[in-house]
Symmetry: C2
Subunit: 107 residues, 2 copies
DNA sequence: CGCTTGGTTCAGTTGACACTTACGCAAGTC
DNA sequence: GACTTGCGTAAGTGTCAACTGAACCAAGCG
């Protein structure tokens, strides 16, 4: 999930994600549409996105087709929803640990 | 919004955001709870978060109290929801522009 | 004014990373 | 097997950002 957030934080990778959002495309075609950078750069971005499970790769002979992984994107979204509030219990644990260490200096 | 995503991509800043999620705290106290890094580092993180409007600062004499900006967090969440799908119109523009350039190589 | 407390900002270091060029590798075609 | 197409990987470079330590600014106290 950390990897997913970092991946999405990159504008170029967001662009790629949008390009393959509604259609499956080969790496070269993605690189053409992105423009401005080399195929190599796009390939490396695709590797990062694949590592974060944000895109799915399908092989077709010598070609590799990519598409966005909507499911993982949804997970990312719900992470942003729940991480903070769900963390309240963990936060309270942290506060209690802190109070044990300091003698309760802040409350 | 780009700034917000980049800010949230940093684990330390996410930690800070969660620390001040449900209570307003002074910078030093935040630094103590974060631990592991200096006040200076935390101060710089707070500046980034403030720049992304993800935290709000309130001055109280010599102290500065921080808290998470839930509203902006909600905006960030809905951005992740809508960016890709809303972008379909823009994507179609891009595709059409691409087809004008290539003569429609991909169907 | 000097001192303390709370906090930011400046200068410099270090590691990560986006990028390019060059090369390597797989899969077809002849 | 040579040649081409499609794409990943390796090596090297420049830039950015997270961090530390020191200096600095603001506010209260004597």
């Amino acid at each position: 999930m950390d990897a997913a957030l970092k991946a999405v934080a990159e504008p170029r990778r967001r662009e790629i994600l949008r390009i393959v959002w509604s259609e499956e495309l080969p790496a070269t075609e993605i690189a053409v549409r992105v423009g401005e950078v080399t195929r190599s750069a796009v390939s490396q971005h695709l590797a990062v996105l694949k590592g974060a499970n944000l895109v799915v790769e399908r092989r077709d002979g010598t070609r590799r087709l990519y598409r966005s992984n909507h499911q993982e994107m949804a997970r990312l979204r719900s992470f942003l929803d729940e991480y903070w509030t769900t963390g309240l219990e963990r936060l309270r644990d942290a506060v209690e640990a802190h109070e044990r260490n300091t003698g309760g200096t802040h409350g």
